[in-house]
Each structure stands twice: as C-alpha cells, then as structure tokens.
C-alpha cells in the first residue's frame, strides 16, 4: 500500500456562511477538534479520500475580513501565511453574496490558490436569484462551485476541483484588484522596495504593501525594523497626503471603498436578484421576536424553554443510566473477593464515575439547545435584546453568549470570550462566567432540590439558583468595571444573521463535542479525584474502631433482645463506626479542620470534604457525598443518596439551599481555573478572583441559611 498523497485545504468564510456544515458534509466522521497553536480558538480538522488523494480540511474560524480586528481574523491570517495550505476554499453565502465577497477580495490579495464555494445554493435557486457562475469565475479569476451543505449538493464537484487545482489542471489566474491610481502606484512602489529584503521573502510583498497602506499594526511591526522602512514610510506619507487632498480620507478607507466598488461591479455583472415582493422570513420573525414589547419576554421564554427541555427530557434518561450503573455494580460485586479491591471498584470507581456520567443526558440536551439557538440565528438576537442591560453592567451584548455557554461549562465559555475585543470586557466576562451555574453544578442542584423540595417546586428552585448566579455575576461585573477594570468598553457592531433552520447534523456535532469533553473529564480528572477521595476517606485506618465495633456487636448478640431488634442495634453500631472511621481519615480531618469556618453556613465536616474534593470538578461534590454517605451505611447495596440526605439530621431545606448557593459561587474546578489562568495571563488575577469568589460564596450562603431558617 503506497502512501496516499495529501492535499491540505483551508476553509475560510464569513460567520453563518454554512462553512461548518460544509466541512461536516465533506469530511463526514473523519474529524477532530483541537486548538490553534497559542490560542484557544477551536480548530476543526478532517479529511476525505478522493481520487487517490487524502484531502485534509482545516475549518478556519468564521471571519468577515482579514484585518487584525479580532483574534479569529488574526488566527485565520496567521494560518494562511505560516501553514501555507495547498489551497483555500472560500465558502460564501450564496443568498448574500455581496457582503461575503469582501473576504474573497482579501483572499485574492493574499494571492493564495483560491476556490470559491457558493454555499446554500439551494436557497439561491429557491429565491429566484440567478448567479452567472462563469462570469463570476472570470472576474474573480478562480473556480466557482455552487454547493449546498444542507442538500449535500456540489460536494463531489468541489472535491473534483480541489484535485484538479492541485494537479495544475485548472489555471488560477490570481486576478489583482484595482485600486485608485494613487494607491495602486504606492502598492507597486512599496512592493518593489519590499522585494529587496530577503527576510521578508516568505510574505507576499503585494499583500504586505496593501496592509501597510491599510495601517495594519501587525504588518507595521514586521517591516519596521528593516532599513528599507525609511523609504517605505516616505511612500506611505506621500500617499496619505494625496488621498487626503483628493478624497478627504486616508488610504485605508480608499482601499476598503475600492474593494466594495469591485464587489458592486461583480454583483452587477453576475447576479440577478428578483425584486422581492414578499417580506422575508427573517423580517417576519424579527417583527415579533425583536418587538419592543415582546422582545424581552420572548428572550426569557426561550432561555427558560431550553432549560425546561433539558430537565424534563433528561430525567428519564438519567434514571435509565442510574439503573445501568447500579446493575453493573451488582454484577461486579460478587466477582471481587478482596474486600479492599471491591470497595475501590464498586464504591469508588463505579459509583463515582457512574454518578458523574448519569448527567450526560442533561449536558447533551442543554448543548443541543444552545447549538440550535446559535445555528438558527437567535443567539445574536439575544445579544441585541440584552445588550443595553449588559452594557449597563459594564459588559457587552456579546458577553451574553459566553455567559450563557457558562451554563453548560465554564471552560468553553471562558474560551468563547475571545470574541470580545476589549481586554477589560473580556476579563470582566471571564471572572463572572463561573457564577453562571455550569452543567457540572447541575447534579448538585438536582440532588439537593430533588431531595428537599416537592417535584413541582424543585424545578423552580433550580431555576431560581441559576437566576441568582446571574444576578451575583452581573453585580460583580459592575463592581469590577467600577473599580479594577475601568476602561473603554468594546464597541457593539454585530450582524444579525438571517434565520435558518440548522441542519440536525451540525447541531448534534456541536453537542457531541461538548459531551465528549465532559466524558473525557469524567474519565480522567474525575476518576483520579474519585480514587484520591476513596484513599483519603479510608486511610489512615484505626484498628481500635473495628475492635470496639466487634466488642459492641458481641455484647448485643449476647443480650436478650429479639432477632429483629438485635439487627437494628447492630446496624446502628456499624453506622456510627463507619462515621468514626471516616472522621479518623485524612478527608475527615480536613473536613473537621474547616468545620468552624463553614458551621455558620449550616455545613458539617462531611460537606466540607465534598466542597474540597469538588475543586477537582463540581460533579465530584455529588460523588463524594455518595461515597461518604454510602460508606457510612451498613448495607452494601447503597440506597439512593437523596433518601440518605433527607434522613440526615444535619440536612434540612435551609442547609440544602445554602449548599446550592455555596457550590454555585465558590471557586470553579481545577480545569476551569487552568483555562482562566491561560486566558487572563497571570496567577495574581486568578488568586484575586478566587478570594473574591470564596468571600461571595460564604457571605451569600450565610445569608441564605439564616433567611431560610427564618422563613422555611
């Protein structure tokens, strides 16, 4: 078997151009997710075998332009320059060709081997728009292929073209965009100067010249240190004077205007848009959804709906998984003769991992909802609707999307803040994301709300906890913006993409990625944490307790009670012995040590243990409580944790609420802290944040506990 020859293809396109759907359609199941080096922007890679080639696709982040405005734009640019893929497939949204072509013109300027995929072509035809692809091909100087990711049309043709371009079978002319004469002259002059610097030969001098005229800071940095800079600067100064005089503006604006002039020409030549008589679907939906009166209620209803769906659909699935893990534990138990090993595997591994995995349905459902909102176009509307409020708290409407993602998991949410340009907006958003109750905290809320409130109320209690997190988060943002993070906020200029029914595939794919992240966490960090907890709650052993227990049992057996009464007495004795053993262990001592601190919140040392181990991952709070409480039971087949908690004298409604609030607000899991450290850059900021979160958690839990005791 010979090695397949590889073709490396980058997919570039605007957000909402259907680029990711196309990527999915092209690469099928051969995909993996990673990060672009140095940044936390997701990088999707996949391949497909076609005509004897392995075509490797990289799905670049969606961008409108290649100016260094956002990290996504920088990543795209950097990838194209440094990784120099064999060719770039520019995915454009067929029904909105005009605004998608800006990126195309900039890719043309980079003089890469370019193919244009006119995506959503089914919609183009449906709407009666006529695109003369042959003309377009002539004007752009590159192959133009109509595709529809949704209908799976044109994918084969696209792959055929990729191969043909690679084999040199299709000539790509690399047309040059013409700018106004003053600018064109300056580009030629600067290009000539740059050619003399061998260090810069890895860049396209024509592109560098355009970027210099566009006042591109990154490119300035590249060129400024070379002696030829003096000459280049002279040209730049001259052309600035000329454009000021002739057009009353600078070359940057002239270049952009000329790109749009070219695009206008292309549109006039190649695209026939029917005079639309009817109002588009997007307009009709937005008249209601963004209505001045209905906009906010609809927004809250949609968010509420997503959470309701998550829970009502998730619960039966959860029960099923619970049963499944119980069955496994029962099946494995008799096979393990060694008592220590059995305890590790049944009480530690199966109980711990099972307790974490049963929440997978909830997480999958939540992310299905969020991905659907994102892909349908509503997410941007949500930012539009709430921006004023967010802005009032010193945040950006766009902060809303990372924040709502924080309901799923803080880690992708913190990464998602990269769409925010202003560092202070980003920092403030990152710092309050952990207050958005993440999917891993959900098990804790469900457990406690389910145990202490009637089913009809439990949902509202959990909803209330979520809202409380939002309120604390927003107030914290305001506090930060007024004190440590005083600076300009990021401007709000955002597209509201047309509504589209998302493909099931792309929604499931997004949700699947999040689910896999969660499972991976469960398989690694959580498993490790669970084993550590098992060790910490079993060692050191105190033989004296066992000896005392044996003596006690012997005394009971020797006594005159009935068989039933004897069993009850023995069970009680074993219970208290288990509790003593746990108290004697490392975990117990740690919990005891912090008990005075958390006593005012209604917590005992066992909750303290769960809070500490919960730093590994929030769902571990549940599995720890499971471990601690079921170890405290005589019966090996541990009854439901809920029942144990309900019967525990320490626990009542006030404690449950207080604990929910504490778990909601205190430091996030180690993984989230790691990501946070990476994103904010310093440990000091993370430490400051941790101090703040712990204080907030303590204060609000204390208030909750006291108030709940008064009113419940």
């Amino acid at each position: 078997m010979g090695m397949r020859r590889e073709i490396r293809v980058a997919l570039a396109g605007n957000p909402n151009s259907g680029k990711s759907s196309l990527f999915n359609g092209l690469t099928g199941s051969h995909q993996k997710v990673g990060n672009f080096s140095g940044v936390t922007i997701e990088k999707y890679e996949g391949y497909v075998d076609h005509q004897g080639y392995r075509i490797r696709f990289v799905d670049l982040p969606g961008t409108y332009s290649l100016t260094p405005y956002s990290p996504e734009e920088l990543v795209t640019r950097k990838f194209l320059i440094e990784e120099s893929p064999d060719m770039v497939v520019n995915v454009v949204e067929g029904p909105n060709l005009e605004r998608n072509l800006l990126l195309t013109t900039q890719l043309m300027e980079m003089e890469v081997d370019l193919l244009v995929a006119i995506n959503m072509y089914d919609e183009v035809e449906e709407r009666g728009i006529e695109i003369e692809t042959e003309q377009l091909r002539g004007l752009l100087g590159c192959p133009v292929i109509p595709t529809s990711a949704k209908k799976k049309q044109g994918l084969e043709a696209l792959l055929d073209h990729v191969v043909r371009v690679f084999e040199g079978d299709i000539d790509i002319r690399k047309n040059k965009l013409g700018f106004r004469p003053e600018v064109d002259g300056a580009i030629r002059e600067i290009t000539g100067l740059l050619r003399h610097e061998p260090d810069l030969s890895r860049f396209n001098p024509h592109w560098l010249a355009i970027k210099l005229l566009e006042n591109d800071r990154e490119v300035y940095g590249l060129v400024r240190d070379y002696p030829l800079w003096l000459k280049v600067e002279r040209v730049l100064q001259r052309v600035l004077g000329e454009t000021e005089r002739l057009y009353r503006t600078d070359p940057e604006v002239v270049i952009t205007e000329d790109r749009y002039a070219f695009i206008r020409g292309v549109m006039q030549e190649c695209v026939l848009t029917p005079g639309e008589g009817r109002v588009s679907l997007t307009d009709r939906i937005d008249r209601i959804v963004l209505n001045r009166v209905l906009g906010l209620p609809i927004f809250f209803f949609i968010v509420w709906l997503v959470f309701q769906l998550t829970f009502t659909l998730g619960t039966p699935l959860m029960d099923g998984l619970d049963l499944f893990f119980g069955t496994i534990a029962d099946a494995v138990s008799p096979l393990l003769v060694n008592e220590t090993l059995r305890s590790v595997i049944v009480d530690g591994v199966i109980a711990g991992v099972g307790g974490v995995l049963i929440f997978l349905p909830n997480i999958v459902l939540l992310f299905l909802g969020l991905s659907f909102l994102e892909a349908s176009g509503y997410m941007a509307r949500a930012a539009f609707v709430v921006d004023k409020v967010m802005h009032r708290f010193g945040l950006h409407g766009k902060s809303f999307i990372p924040l709502i993602t924080g309901f799923g998991c803080s880690i992708p949410a913190i990464m998602a803040t990269r769409t925010l340009k202003s560092p202070s907006d980003r920092l403030a958003t990152i710092m309050i994301i952990p207050f958005m109750s993440c999917g891993a905290k959900l098990p804790v809320h469900i457990l406690l709300a389910g145990a202490f409130f009637e089913p009809s109320v439990a949902g509202n209690v959990v909803f209330g906890i979520y809202m409380f997190g939002v309120v604390v988060g927003l107030l914290s943002a305001l506090l930060m913006k007024k004190t440590v993070l005083k600076s300009e906020s990021e401007p709000f200029v955002m597209e509201l993409p047309p509504y589209r029914w998302p493909t099931a595939r792309s929604v499931f794919w997004q949700s699947n990625i999040k689910a896999m992240m969660y499972v991976r966490k469960a398989g690694t960090i959580i498993l490790l944490a669970v084993l550590l907890i098992w060790v910490a709650s079993n060692y050191p052993k105190n033989p004296a307790i066992d000896a005392a227990l044996e003596r006690q049992i012997a005394t009971i057996e020797a006594g005159e009670l009935s068989r039933g009464a004897k069993d009850v007495a023995i069970a009680d004795a074993e219970n208290s012995a288990s509790a003593e053993k746990l108290e004697y262990s490392v975990a117990g001592r740690a919990g005891r040590l912090m008990e005075p601190l958390i006593r005012p919140l209604g917590f005992d040392w066992r909750i303290g243990v769960a809070l500490v181990t919960g730093l590994a991952a929030k769902e571990v709070v549940v599995s720890t409580m499971g471990t601690i409480y079921s170890l405290g039971e005589t019966d090996e087949t541990s009854p439901e944790l809920k029942t144990i908690l309900k019967n525990d004298p320490v626990f009542d409604r006030a404690t449950a609420l207080s604990l929910m609030v504490f778990v909601l607000l205190y430091i996030p899991c180690v993984a989230a802290i790691g990501v946070m450290r990476k994103e904010v850059g310093t440990w000091q900021a993370v430490a400051l944040y941790s101090g703040y979160a712990l204080t907030a958690a303590w204060v609000f839990s204390f208030l909750t506990y006291r108030l709940a005791n008064l009113f419940l």
Partner: protein, 94 residues
C-alpha cells in the same frame, strides 16, 4: 447628521466615518462605506442598540457607535420592513 439621529423607518446614505472612531475598521469591514444606502429597521426593546439593513445584511450597532457614522437622509417608508432598493445586482421584473 449621524446614524444615531435617524428614526426607525428612515433611509439614509453613508457619507463617511469619523476619522477618530474606534470602530471605523469594523464598520468599514461590515460594508458601511461611503455611498452605502441603508434603512433603520428597529431599536432594541430596551432602546439600544439599533438595527439597520443594507445589502442583504442585518447589522446591529449601539447608538454610541452609530454616532460615528455620518449620513444623509434620503427618505422614509414608515414601516419596519427592510428596503428593497439599494441591494447589489440588477433587479429583474419590478
């Protein structure tokens, strides 16, 4: 006048952008260049930001940013529907 002074339903044409605007690059990239005709579609339920429509694109921007866009009013239709003219490309039929 500037974009933020327009009312819902009014149409205008971009005349330029304030040179010192921090959002100039972004606004340019989104296609609000000199000569672009657009219509103010609506204001968010809480009064800010505003949504405009041009070249098939729905764009939202805060009044703060909209104040950096110099415009010339060219008419109004009164309703919230996007305008049909000013789109790129030839128009068939009508």
């Amino acid at each position: 006048m500037v974009l933020s002074e327009l009312k819902v339903g009014e149409k205008a044409e971009v005349e330029g952008l304030l040179a010192e605007s921090g959002v100039r690059r972004r606004i340019l990239d989104m296609g609000l260049v000199k000569g672009t005709k657009f219509k103010v579609l609506r204001v968010a339920p809480l009064g800010d930001p505003v949504e405009i429509f041009f070249k098939g694109m729905y764009l939202s921007l805060r009044k703060n940013e909209a104040a950096d866009v110099l415009v010339r009013k060219i008419g109004e239709t009164g309703d919230g529907a996007p305008m049909r003219e000013g789109r790129g490309g030839r128009q068939s039929g009508s």
